[in-house]
């Protein structure tokens, strides 16, 4: 009976060692998200940041109908 009690106590104590951490690892002010690749570069539609920004700038400017009409 005593052996069984010691065995059970040992098992209960050891069970604590297998416990997985329940806390989140996120630190305030830092993002835990996966790294996102930039929308330009090798294999993309635009080779570099400058070309990409020029295209977006042209698109944004095109929203001004005063420029488009006149």
């Amino acid at each position: 009976m005593m052996k069984l009690l010691i065995l059970l106590t040992g098992l209960v104590v050891l069970a604590g060692c297998g416990e997985q951490p329940q806390t989140i690892t996120a630190k305030p002010g830092t993002s835990a998200a996966k790294a996102d690749d930039v929308p330009y570069g090798e294999g993309k539609s635009f080779a570099d940041r400058n070309a990409w920004q020029l295209q977006l700038r042209a698109r944004a400017d095109n929203q001004n109908e005063y420029k488009r009409v006149n």
Partner: protein
Amino acid sequence: MARMKFICDAERCIECNGCVTACKNEHDVPWGVNRRRVVTLNDGIVGAERSISVACMHCSDAPCMAVCPVNCFYKTEDGVVLHDKDLCIGCGYCFYACPFGAPQFPQAGAFGVRGKMDKCTFCAGGPEKDNSKAEHEKYGRNRLAEGKLPACAEMCSTKALLAGDGDVLSDIYRERVMRRGRGGDLWGHATAYGRPDAKATGPILQSIPQKS
């Protein structure tokens, strides 16, 4: 560094909901989730009715980023606020923090179980590989990587909704206000059909030379 922003011109928005439809179609947004919606104030009151199209405004100091317990939000180098759906736990804190009600939660199962948060991505996708199937399924199309602005703004028929670099948008909006005037000049027959007497247009409109 560009700061990607939206601006909605309340004097131009005609509540057509074209932006809402364009967004839903572009990103295959599920039923019950509206990344963008049109809000109308003073509905039906002549001369006082105003509509604006609202979505995530990609805040410079985004409250959703501050309250997220798992820090799934991140900001691109162009100021677009995005999030990682693989980390999101659907707690809804971001919804309570957002002043625009931008975060949306799909019903993930029976009994109103809340799914992972979904919001406007400025058509910039997410952290998955650009224009991949995984990115499209989770976040929708990545138009920014194609050199295109968000579909909602590019589809807007009256160009009430503008998207792009904040400085460019400021210039466009400033020019509009200078040309169209303000107050009583904004609304009425003369605004719609032109003014018979150029001298009657007021000092603001006269300050900009117009081509004949």
